[in-house]
């Protein structure tokens, strides 16, 4: 493989790296705090365009044999995470100033891209760590709140535990097969000896932890709540996407056998049911989304039960719709001086009367996440359960669907709070302008700033496209 092809196949990563270097340089020079966001958005948009272009030209290549490869499905996955990063960056404008957040976000994105393309456990570990480390710091960026330190610490410790389990599993696999390539995992899946099984279980548990699957989910609600809104959006969508893409990569083209089938069906099943039940009583949107994302992780692990070629398509489509809708919900949250109060359901009470646009957007996101047609969340869920049923797991599919039914209630509760309770227009609820100094412009009371609106519009257009022409999107995956 010649140098230019090697360069081309990592073009999105190179563009991200360029952005990171620029951001760091600007920090060192101490200038351009105003331009940091712009640089980051341009870098991510350029990387996304590069991924899109490579995707359209059906590019595939192996720049580092056995470590890193690029093909159609990995390019689509990169395109999705890069696209989702743009609205997340835009909405961060009201939370963070300066270059720390964009630089951390881009680094984490680089890690996600590595993870998506990894061919060996080494690259995968590199990707996982590069993805996670900046996120620990990003959670801590909301340090004005006490909860954020606790959240970051919990996330760090449990993330570390996951990495340790992953490494332990990989070394066992290496001991058994003498290879660190991800195909060793397939060998391990088919083997019946105790060590191979232990290796597979350890790796799978690491991903359960990272993906917040019950009973390894306890960190998620605290971490999501302790972080500020854009960071939560990032964790709930892009980090989760990275983890899921890695899992699908491991399971691609491997026929599932008995103990593993139960492992990837029962824990996700409990996740679906428990996530949806626990979400009912949560007082804030972030905690609710955390539990809902626990349930959604369950659906995505369910997709592994489906037949080989359908897995990637189902998970990709699911992550796209789920990501777009989560970002939409977070971007449409009206700003508030007090970050902790911003997304409490009490604050959202009667939002329709104060800010109809935001209320309708959050409403669309909630209904779609609940999987009610005609919103795109339905098509995504349909695709997963279709594959599970087609693979013959009728009982799991039916119980999973009933679990997803439980979830409808708490999504409707958000709508009920926003639309059906009278708006309390008192001084306590409509907070004054944010007290944190804002670098540019200002936002109106209970209104959305221009950047947040741009983020909302991007997500809304994607939602509409997914809703009207799901067939086109599916054909492209």
């Amino acid at each position: 493989m010649n140098a230019s092809l090697t360069f081309m196949s990592m073009l999105p990563e190179h563009l991200l790296l360029l952005g990171i270097v620029l951001l760091l340089a600007m920090e060192i020079v101490g200038k351009g705090a105003r331009a940091a966001l712009l640089v980051a958005v341009v870098a991510v948009a350029a990387a996304a365009s590069a991924a899109f272009w490579l995707c359209m030209t059906d590019f595939s290549g192996i720049p580092f044999p056995g470590q890193f490869s690029v093909n159609h499905s990995s390019l689509v996955a990169k395109l999705i995470v890069l696209l989702l990063a743009i609205p997340v960056l835009l909405m961060s404008r009201y939370e963070f100033e300066g270059g720390e957040f964009p630089a951390l976000l881009l680094s984490s994105l680089y890690g996600v891209c590595l993870l998506i393309s990894s061919d060996s456990f080494l690259t995968m570990f590199l990707g996982l760590e590069l993805m996670s480390l900046p996120v620990y710091a990003m959670v801590l960026l909301a340090y004005r709140r006490v909860e954020s330190a606790e959240a970051a610490l919990k996330y760090l410790v449990l993330g570390g535990a996951a990495s340790a389990m992953f490494l332990m599993g990989v070394s066992l696999l290496y001991g058994m097969t003498g290879s660190t390539g991800i195909s060793a995992f397939a060998t391990g899946l088919l083997a019946t000896d105790i060590l191979s099984r232990a290796a597979v279980a350890l790796i799978l548990l690491a991903f359960f932890l990272k993906g917040a699957v019950v009973p390894f989910h306890a960190w998620a609600p605290d971490a999501y709540e302790g972080a500020s809104v854009p960071v939560t959006a990032f964790m709930a969508t892009i980090v989760k996407a990275g983890v899921m893409f890695a899992v699908v990569r491991l399971f691609a083209d491997v026929p599932l056998m008995s103990p593993v089938v139960e492992l990837v069906a029962i824990f996700p099943l409990i996740s679906i049911v428990w996530g949806n039940i626990a979400a009912m009583k949560q007082p804030s949107l972030r905690r609710m989304i955390a539990y809902s994302s626990i349930a959604h992780a369950g659906y995505m692990f369910y997709a592994l039960l489906g037949a080989g070629e359908g897995q990637m398509q189902a998970v990709t489509f699911y992550l796209l719709t789920y990501g777009v809708l989560n970002v939409l919900a977070f971007a449409a949250l009206p700003p508030d001086a007090n970050d902790a109060e911003r997304d409490r359901l009490d604050t959202l009470r009667g939002l329709w009367h104060r800010n109809p646009f935001a209320a309708i957007m959050i409403g669309i996101a909630m209904l779609s996440l609940s999987g009610l047609p005609p919103f795109p969340g339905f098509v995504a869920k349909f695709l997963i359960f279709k594959n599970v049923l087609a693979a013959g797991y009728t009982t799991y599919a039916v119980i999973g669907l009933i679990g997803s039914y439980i979830g409808i209630y708490f999504y409707l509760r958000v709508i009920q709070v926003m639309f059906m309770t009278p708006g309390v227009v008192s001084e306590q609820v409509v907070h004054s302008l944010p007290t944190v100094p804002r670098p540019f412009g200002r936002t109106t009371v209970a209104g959305l700033g221009a950047f947040a609106r741009a983020a909302v519009v991007i997500c809304l257009l994607l939602t509409a496209y997914l809703m009207v022409l799901p067939g086109r999107v599916l054909a492209g995956l």
Binding site: L367, L372, P373, P374, F378, A390, L412, I415, P470, L474
Partner: protein
């Protein structure tokens, strides 16, 4: 011509969506313009639907005015709509009631007017779509899409316990739907296994041959979903709550059209898709239908809330529809179809009248009223006419529907009795008591309401104004028209009734493709290759 007409059907379907889009342009502080604009859009929709209805040919069981475009190609999902004898009357009913609902809500809705009419448009779109859809996936999407605007309509503009009622409504209906979803996927995969095609088209699914135990489970899932919507005893408890808490237009839409989706679902999908299971479970289903008739009527007899009386009477009247469909007698099926339309008109009229009195007197307690005949003579005349139509007095549409259903049920039951099984005869006989009970509760209602000592809460009140008289006048005329001249309506649905009868009677247990169903579905296939719009029919079937 056929092409123009299928375009018109698309316009009829999407006009409400266009209306909702245009609504955004009207300023929020101009509620009157919003109301008139909505009314105008829905009148246009009605005019176009009436034109389609006139052009609809009675002589074929095939789909007419068909559109078929691939939507999600890989799964064999098509945007496939068309009119046939099953849905043509219900489409007309949907288009007919909508302008009346809007005109009837001119005074009732004062809060968030724009959002309200946006919801009316959305519901109208979803209901139209559910009726015209000829693809199971599309049907399911429209079927569920209806929930959300109704959820908001009850929840925002409803009465005191609106939140409880609306969440109950959604959770009940969604539970049925989730099982239907699983059944739907299973059905499509069985078809793929047996016939080798991946298709959600109704006409293809009718060919799917399934083993009996699979049919039983799938019928169970579909029937649960439809039975909750109808509602059939014991799945009816959401209905009184939803009706009582819903604003008047919500109640009218709910009773007028939405409940018919359940019976339409049974007629178009539930029974014909799983004929063997249907045959097996007919005694059970018929028993539930008869319990609905009698139990609904008994409950209506003891209610003190006037909206609840009409809500329970709906359960009773729709029990007849189920009975007619299950009788598998051509007269009974025709009667069921007429009864659906008739109940749509009568229940809509009664809920509108309750809304009108509620706007004036602010209470729904039956005991609070009395002697309205003296105070509100015009109102009382209309009320009496609608009451008698609900009771089923000859010359009104209520009579035609119930009479034909009972006639059909008896004919089928007698034949079975001669063949040695008498359960149907017993059930049909019990169902007749529903007519007597119906007279009892409606006349008790009218007696307390219109006669006796004069009691008018928050009086003195004015009689009906011109707008209200016009709305009720149109409804009463249509009720008599359907009662006196049911022929034209019945001719429209005759072929469909025969097709339904044959589909349910033909066992598809053994062979995936039996000659009988194939010949039955021939006309549909023939018309498809004809002048109608077909775009790459094969593309979705790898």
């Amino acid at each position: 011509m056929a092409d123009t007409l299928s375009t018109v059907l698309n316009v009829v379907l999407f006009l409400p969506l266009l209306g909702m889009g245009l609504l955004v342009l009207i300023p929020s502080d101009k509620p009157q313009i919003t109301r008139r604009f909505t009314l105008l859009m829905l009148l246009v929709q009605l005019a176009l639907t009436a034109w389609l209805y006139r052009q609809f040919s009675n002589n074929t069981a095939a789909l007419q005015f068909e559109t078929r475009i691939p939507w999600i190609g890989q799964w064999g999902v098509f945007y496939h709509i068309g009119l046939d004898g099953f849905n043509v009357l219900l489409v007309l009913l949907t288009a007919f009631l909508a302008p009346l609902v809007v005109a009837g809500s001119f005074n009732a809705i004062q809060k968030d007017v724009k959002l309200f009419y946006a919801m009316v448009f959305l519901i109208q779109f979803a209901m139209m779509g559910t009726f015209v859809a000829q693809d199971l996936f599309l049907f399911y999407v429209f079927w569920e899409a209806m929930l959300i605007p109704m959820f908001l309509m009850i929840g925002i503009w409803g009465g005191e316990r609106r939140i409880y009622a609306t969440i109950k409504f959604v959770l009940y209906t969604a539970f049925g739907s989730i099982l239907m979803l699983a059944a739907m996927i299973y059905l499509v995969y069985s078809l793929q296994g047996s016939a080798g095609i991946t298709s959600f088209a109704f006409s293809d699914l009718y060919k799917a041959g399934l083993p009996l135990h699979a049919q039983e489970l799938l019928l169970g899932a579909f029937a649960l979903s439809f039975a909750i919507k109808v509602p059939v005893f014991p799945f009816h408890t959401w209905l009184p709550d939803a009706h009582v808490e819903a604003p008047t237009p919500g109640s009218v839409i709910l009773a007028g059209v939405m409940l018919k989706m359940g019976t339409y679902g049974f007629m178009k999908l539930g029974f014909p898709l799983f004929p063997d299971a249907t045959q097996l479970y007919t005694p059970l289903l018929m028993t539930l239908a008869v319990i609905s008739v009698v139990y609904g009527a008994c409950l209506a007899l003891v209610q003190t809330d006037i909206k609840k009386i009409i809500a329970y009477s709906s359960i009773s009247h729709l029990g007849y529809v189920m009975l007619g469909l299950l009788s598998l007698d051509i007269v009974g099926i025709q009667g069921a179809i007429v009864q659906m339309v008739s109940h749509g008109l009568v229940a809509a009229g009664l809920f509108l009248m309750v809304g009108m009195i509620y706007e004036r007197c602010h209470t729904r307690e039956l005991a609070a009223y009395g002697g309205l005949a003296k105070v509100l003579p015009v109102y009382s005349v209309f009320f009496m006419v609608l009451t008698l139509a609900s009771v089923g007095l000859p010359t009104t549409s209520g009579f035609t529907g119930e009479f034909l259903v009972l006639l059909g049920a008896y004919r089928a039951a007698w034949a079975q009795h001669l063949a040695g099984s008498s359960y149907a005869l017993v059930l049909a006989s019990i169902a007749v008591t529903g007519v007597v009970l119906g007279a009892l509760y409606m006349l008790r209602f009218a007696l307390g309401f219109l006669w006796g000592a004069e009691r008018v809460p928050h009086g003195p009140v004015s009689d009906l104004n011109r707008r209200e008289r016009l709305i009720l006048g149109i409804l009463v005329v249509s009720i008599f028209a359907l009662g006196l001249f049911p022929d034209s309506a019945m001719q429209k649905s005759e072929m469909a009734a025969k097709q339904y009868q044959q589909l349910v009677k033909t066992s598809r247990l053994q062979a995936a493709r039996s000659p009988a169903t194939d010949s039955l579905l021939q006309p549909a296939a023939a018309s498809r290759t004809g002048a109608l719009r077909i775009i790459s029919r094969q593309s979705g079937r790898p």
